[in-house]
């Protein structure tokens, strides 16, 4: 009976008793007690996100402070969950929000509908809407799940001026900049 509990190493003639195998297992577990745990103690320590992580949306600006978003609503068209709502308005040189003719006067994303697929980011012609790194989104009532334009716009970069800006006529006529290859 005891012999039938012996374990045979397949392919070899080496037999080991049940008892010695149990002791080896116990030794392994004991040694693993002293290894450093792999747990990351969130929220004191946060694991950095990967490079192309799809987190909270952001509406980017140019270095001079003008918004990149031109209100073309290609993102709204591309969105599979119908989460984006865009209303465009006309830019004037006295009050210019973005280069070109139009800007997004109303830009809302319903975060409860959004599936964070990144199609809006792919569809945008000016690289305005971008999915960033933030994943800590929580709210306590449904109304606060609608993120508005002010919430989504990034702060003005250093060296830029806040929108709306007053600019020289004719300076920012092109709505889509000369596109560069991704770096």
């Amino acid at each position: 009976m005891l012999a039938s509990f012996a374990i045979k190493d397949p392919g070899t003639e080496k037999r080991s008793g049940m008892f010695t195998e149990i002791l080896k297992g116990l030794a392994t577990t004991f040694k693993s007690m002293f290894e450093e745990p792999v747990t990351i103690q969130y929220p004191e320590i946060k694991r950095p996100v990967r490079e192309r992580y799809k987190g909270r949306h952001e509406l980017k600006r140019y270095d001079n402070g003008l918004e990149k978003c031109i209100g073309c609503s290609l993102c709204a068209a591309a969105c599979p969950a119908d989460a984006i709502f865009v209303e465009a308005a006309e830019n004037t040189d006295e009050a210019r929000y973005s280069p070109g003719e139009r800007y997004a006067s109303t830009y809302e994303i319903n975060m409860l509908r959004c599936i964070f697929c990144g199609f809006c980011e792919d569809a945008c012609p000016t690289e305005a809407i971008v999915l960033g790194d933030n994943y800590e989104l929580s709210w306590t009532d449904r109304a606060s799940s609608i993120y508005t334009r002010e919430m989504l716009l990034v702060p003005v970069p250093p060296g830029g001026k806040p929108t709306p800006q007053k600019v020289e006529p004719g300076k920012f006529d092109r709505s889509i900049p000369v596109m560069e290859d991704p770096k």
Partner: protein, 400 residues
């Protein structure tokens, strides 16, 4: 220890009060110990799995058992509609109460004599009150422990039955069959220290280990006791009856809230109880350096004795947790085969050899020789049959 004479006379007249206080103290200490055993287990298993256990509720997770207890208190108590209500409610109690009362006979430390004047210290004067560090040192302590352990099996099978759920029923039956089988080996392994000490009283057994611990004289008995007690408590690797994967939590499937907490409590307190009994029977109980030394004051001996006993219990608990983190669950039929075909014969052989050794060394060696011949015969026949099976497969062919 010196105390005013009036207090000692009060103690002598109100002995039942002393027992009551001791019993209440043991129950409260056990409840706290149970709570922190759960935390200890979770953190030790986590350490063995290279992760951190609960450390959020309070510093180092110290309030985690409290949080778990509160959660279970607030949970909805569901009794299935077609369950046998009375039995359903009674079953957890039948499981838990024996776990507590086993520890009534375990000696927690050496006796402290409370004397009114210093001259009477040391002498067995009648004016002194002997405060025993145990609730009741019955002279059939071992028998009491074995019989009370058997009562707990009723709770398990009744829980499975009253749930009106076929998985719970199967779990209950499996569990009770397992516990009954391993209780045989448990009871027989306990006979070794009984023979060596010549008494069933737990206090006497501890005193008899003053020269050498019984684990040295009875290594096989100690091993059988530890393995059988793991099976008794339904702990891994013998926890098939509560296997989530196979039986959806077995006999306590239908239990929720406080009743489930009672089953949980029963299991862990039985773990503590069995650790205490193992420490008492094989590892010297409360004995250790300075305990039993007549030059050391009794109160210090009592404190040290408690400390040693506690340390031994914690070490056994760690051993049980360590085994749980290492070994996979044993399949039920192999579990039963192991209990009846390996543990029982080994325990019987242990008793025979111990008894023979106590009679005379000639008897012992004659018996060893006979057992050796029997084992040799068995091994020879077994190996021959295994060889035949392998030959029947034919020569191995190289693949590929």
């Amino acid at each position: 220890m010196i105390l005013p004479a009036e207090f000692i006379i009060f103690l002598k007249n109100y002995e039942w009060l002393v027992w009551l206080v001791k019993a209440a103290l043991v129950v409260f200490v056990l409840l706290t110990a149970f709570a922190y055993t759960t935390l200890f287990e979770r953190r030790v298993i986590a350490m063995m799995q290279t992760r951190i256990g609960p450390n959020r509720a309070g510093p180092f997770g110290f309030l985690q058992p409290l949080a778990d207890g509160l959660k279970l208190l607030f949970k909805e108590e569901l009794i299935p509609a077609s369950a046998d209500k009375l039995v359903f409610i009674l079953a957890p109690m039948i499981t838990v109460i024996p776990a507590f009362i086993i520890l009534a006979v375990v000696p927690w430390g050496p006796t402290v004599h409370l004397c009114p004047t210093p001259e009477l210290l040391g002498a067995q004067a009648s004016a002194c009150y002997p405060l025993t560090m145990g609730i009741a040192d019955v002279n059939v302590g071992l028998l009491y422990i074995l019989s009370v352990t058997s009562i707990a099996i009723y709770g398990v099978v009744l829980a499975g039955w009253s749930s009106n759920n076929k998985y719970a029923m199967l779990g209950g039956l499996r569990s009770s069959a397992q516990m009954v089988s391993y209780e045989l080996a448990l009871g027989l392994s306990v006979v070794g220290p009984l023979l060596l000490a010549g008494s069933m009283s737990m206090g006497d057994i501890v005193q008899a280990q003053s020269k050498i611990w019984y684990v040295v004289l009875q290594p096989v008995g100690a091993l059988i006791f530890l393995v059988a007690s793991l099976a008794e408590v339904n702990r891994a690797p013998f926890d098939m009856p509560e296997a989530e994967q196979e039986l959806t939590a077995g006999y306590h499937t239908e239990y929720s809230g406080m009743k489930f907490a009672l089953f949980f409590m029963g299991e862990y307190i039985k773990m503590i109880a069995v650790s205490a009994i193992a420490a008492t029977l094989f590892f010297g109980g409360y004995r250790g350096p300075l305990v039993g030394d007549p030059n050391v004051p009794e109160w210090l001996q009592a404190i040290l004795g408690l400390l040693y006993f506690g340390t031994k219990i914690v070490l056994f608990l760690f051993l049980m947790i360590w085994v749980r983190a290492t070994l996979p669950r044993i399949r039920y039929d192999r579990l039963m085969a192991f209990g009846w075909k390996v543990m029982l014969p080994l325990a019987l052989a242990n008793i025979a050899l111990t008894a023979a050794a106590l009679v005379s060394s000639i008897a012992f060696w004659v018996l060893v020789g006979l057992f050796g011949l029997g084992v040799l015969f068995y091994l020879l026949t077994t190996v021959r049959q295994v060889g035949k099976a392998e030959l029947a497969q034919g020569p191995l062919e190289e693949s590929g």
